[in-house]
């Protein structure tokens, strides 16, 4: 990239009618020395960025190369696959119930995302837009559950689910989402607060019920935040390992991709090539989702950081 030539910008125009510049303002060309320095700076910047990119990409490249190796070659120090065994991508579907794992993971992730949205939007609305006794206290309670390590509640929950005969099943992974999630409530509330009070007041004057106001005024305006919360919940559940490990146990028909992948072993050794093939297929939907919803991702992450 060349920064040696000055950037073409329209010369500033004088607005006052009677003040006329004697000559058109011409941007002074950048002195060659400064131009050279800028160019070198740009080269250095890109060199650093490319080196850093390589570090971030290399593990992915190795995963890909291993994914198309023969099983025997993964146990040798060779890096380049000889031959490229593309059939790995079909044989994983034969060797393990990959489609079933994918279906299970997608079911859990989708249903619990629906649950979180359905349950958290009204709570966030009540915490940000309605006046009622105990609102402040309720918000403090939501905040404090944010700090609660899941380890504190997981043992009694496990016991409850055992009593309900919910283990092994998807229910422990889905049902709690329908009763709200502290982090999602918190994020949504913070975003709802930025929506001008006048809008909801106007709707109230027009005789809208609280539910209508939420659905017709708040939800359309809060779409970016709701999309971000949905996306994060989906991803969290798609990637989650601890929950499925605990609640799906040995029932292989229920396993998710995370649990299936962690058990991807024959009696003697880890089949690295197929493990990497599965890992790639596991990451693929996430990567596709990222490119489809890049803005929601970046804005959502920023939202969590800035509002948090």
């Amino acid at each position: 990239m060349s920064t040696t030539s000055p950037i073409a910008r329209p010369a500033p125009q004088a607005k006052g009618g009677n003040v006329k510049p004697a000559t058109a303002i011409v941007r002074r060309p950048v002195p060659p020395e400064i131009g050279r320095r800028r160019f070198l700076q740009a080269v250095a910047d890109h060199a650093m960025l490319i080196a850093m990119s390589a570090m971030f990409l290399l593990p992915m490249v190795f995963v890909f190369l291993t994914a198309v190796m023969t099983d025997r070659q993964t146990l040798t120090p060779q890096i380049w696959p000889r031959p490229f065994q593309w059939s790995n991508f079909t044989s994983v579907f034969r060797d393990i119930p990959l489609l079933r794992y994918t279906w299970n993971t997608a079911t859990i992730a989708t249903l619990s995302t629906v649950g979180v949205i359905v349950s958290c939007v009204p709570v966030a609305y009540a915490l940000s837009r309605m006046r009622w006794k105990g609102r402040q206290v309720s918000f403090l309670v939501v905040l404090s559950t944010l700090m609660l390590p899941f380890q504190v509640t997981v043992i009694p929950l496990y016991i409850i689910f055992v009593r309900f005969h919910w283990i092994p099943s998807f229910k422990p992974l889905i049902v709690p989402s329908f009763f709200g999630d502290a982090f999602s409530i918190f994020l949504l509330r913070q975003f709802f607060l930025t929506i001008p009070e006048e809008l909801t007041d106007a709707a109230r004057v027009d005789g809208g019920s609280e539910f209508q106001i939420m659905r017709k005024v708040i939800v359309p305006l809060a779409k970016p935040a709701i999309a971000a919360v949905a996306l994060f919940n989906f991803l969290y559940n798609w990637n989650d390992f601890f929950g499925p490990l605990l609640y799906l146990q040995e029932d292989q028909r229920l396993w998710t991709l995370s649990v299936g992948l962690s058990n991807f072993k024959t009696l003697h050794h880890v089949q690295w090539n197929l493990t990497m093939t599965t890992s790639l297929l596991f990451m693929l939907p996430v990567i596709v989702l990222f490119f489809l919803a890049q803005r929601v991702f970046i804005e959502g992450v920023t939202l969590t950081g800035v509002k948090g």
Partner: protein, 298 residues
Amino acid sequence: MSPWLIGFLVFVLYPMASSLYFSFTRYDLLSVPVPIGLENYKFMFTKDPYFWLSVRNTLWIIVYGVPIRIVFAIFTAWLLTKPRRGVKTYRTIFFLPSLAPPVAAALAFVFVFNPSTGPVNQLLGHLGLHNPPLWFYSPAWSKPSILILGLWGVGETMIIFLAGLLDVPRQLYEAADIEGANGWQKFRLVTLPSISPVIFFSLVIGVIEGFQFFTGAYIASLTASGGTTNDVATNLGFPQNSLLFYSVRLYGSAFVNFQMGYASALAWMLFAVTMVCTVVIIKTSKRWVHYAGGGGFR
């Protein structure tokens, strides 16, 4: 509100109360909990050979991991503020690994860092390093390996810092230029105070997550030890318990040994320590976190 209230009672308050109760009992899931007073806590501090070990491992990953991760996040975000072209591509490349499922990421790293067949040590060998580390297979290098895995997934933190860096008012830099500040002074006196709320946020989240770190260590230990899931008990923390983090230890005593009472005591100790650390960070933050609006912690 009411579904959330039910959820809160059933999925938070009741479990909290009962795990507090369990922490004063002996409970193996098969028979009723037997109250034993403070025995669990006494055992934890005086007799459990793995308790202090897991505390040390966890503190290691927090004390080294959290600051290194924040510095790395600031560095990568800062790199992204520099070029005029290609920012989006670089940003995508830096960010994507953070979306990788933790199980897949941990498996990939154990393979890539495999001492004898992995590509990393091959490359190090070509560079003339003849005794490269054994990474996930050596007690001395397993935690640094986990740390590198964490750096690879720095993306989300980096994006937050990037937003913070882009928010620093330009006038501040211009004023510093006029005062004749050099690059380092500008960074220390302008950039750092401006992004201090983001540092504060990542510090709190990093410490909380550090205490709860589980998946990466669990997968790395079980994979590197080469064992099957049947010998989880012996392989947790492999190699030589160097990856036996607090949450891994807690998982082991609850769901491998079924000592529900003792595991509940471990969980409450974790909660207490997390609270203390968070409060300490918030208290000291008043001295070093600057909010542009002039307000304090909100």
